[in-house]
Point group: C2
């Protein structure tokens, strides 16, 4: 599926914003960016629309578009919602998951564990993504899967940052095991609770990380 220029620009801008390439509240200059990407204003504006819809940017009519870096509060809120959605996935998956998918989860967890031992952050991250993706899919609810992927993507930069936290990786793995175990038992409630806690703790850990970084800077 061939993509168009405006899509590529949207992705590029999204990455730029998420990596912190722009300050919060900064106005995105159409002409400047048009030059930078070597396109006209038209595809840029289409890209802006996409970013506005996903909440990374605010469009004020006749004024321009401004980047909206989610602060710690909004970030926590997003994790809270993510926790609910993933918990729902887990609960539904407990009833619907296939034997094959369970095998897959086990294998993914093993690779994830190996990555932890090897201090392979990229590997850990990849397998962790896979673990969650499988669960979204096994919820059996395509719409839910879609929504989870969307939110997951929004939280991407935070989650990535969080990898720096020592000790968190091992704990996270233990939580994965608990989730799989609940799924194997077909216990929806337990799976949901385990998943909710797993995601919620990420949000909290990140919150602490941000707070400590801020504190260190003062």
């Amino acid at each position: 599926m061939e993509r168009k220029r405006s899509d590529l620009i949207a992705d590029a801008l999204e990455a730029l914003i998420l990596e912190g390439g722009f300050a919060d509240g900064e106005r995105l200059d159409e002409q400047q960016l048009a030059q930078r990407f070597d396109v006209s204003r038209t595809p840029l504006r289409e890209a802006f629309q996409r970013l506005a819809l996903s909440g990374l940017v605010e469009q004020i009519p006749r004024r321009g578009v401004f980047v909206r870096q989610p602060g710690p509060v909004e970030m926590m809120e997003m994790f809270e919602v993510m926790a609910e959605l993933e918990a729902a996935c887990a609960r539904l998956a407990a009833a619907r998951i296939s034997e094959e998918a369970l095998q897959n989860l086990h294998a993914t967890n093993e690779r994830c564990n190996a990555a932890v031992e090897a201090r392979d952050h990229d590997g850990y991250y990849r397998e962790n993504e896979r673990f969650h993706a499988i669960l979204y899919q096994q919820s059996g609810n395509g719409f839910l899967e879609q929504e989870c992927q969307r939110l997951h993507k929004l939280l991407h930069p935070f989650r990535r940052l969080q990898l720096r936290l020592r000790g968190r990786l091992r704990q996270s793995m233990a939580e994965h095991e608990e989730i799989v175990s609940a799924l194997e038992a077909g216990d929806g409630h337990r799976a949901a609770e385990a998943m909710r806690a797993h995601v919620a703790v990420q949000g909290e850990k990140f919150h602490h990380l941000v707070a400590s970084l801020k504190h260190a800077a003062e």
Copy 2:
């Protein structure tokens, strides 16, 4: 806040699609619609982008945009997700809700009840919306509130259709009372369960409605 032409068109198209003004899979002709709305293709295309992001329309590069009427399956999936999100709202609200908001919910429920007695569908619908809006807000999570509103809007046409079901209104009211009661008691778990059931049953009822309509047509 003045809005621009493309926003108005997006709203108009959204309404048209949701009311069933287009067949599923139908291609939206840019030129034709441009004439119809008396604008150029540019704002139309911006409107398309918005619709594509909210899932009402599918954009296939170099082919055009096609309306995507959600079928019964997708509709059920959406209700399932809505149920989860609203349940989360209820659970969070149980801990955070203000006395004033509780009063508000009571008042809204009374007006809702009155509308049921008076067979005032529009009134019922309006107060019902209000009930849910208050709960979203009282979750204390702005992001969750936003997501709920988005989904709520997507489900709008289905919910509307559902009003035709006799007897459902009274039952729905009883469910509202139960939710408020749980909130008053500060029982998050009970509030969440009541809310989940409340929304889920809407999805099921609607599913039956669709099935019966289909059956009648054969």
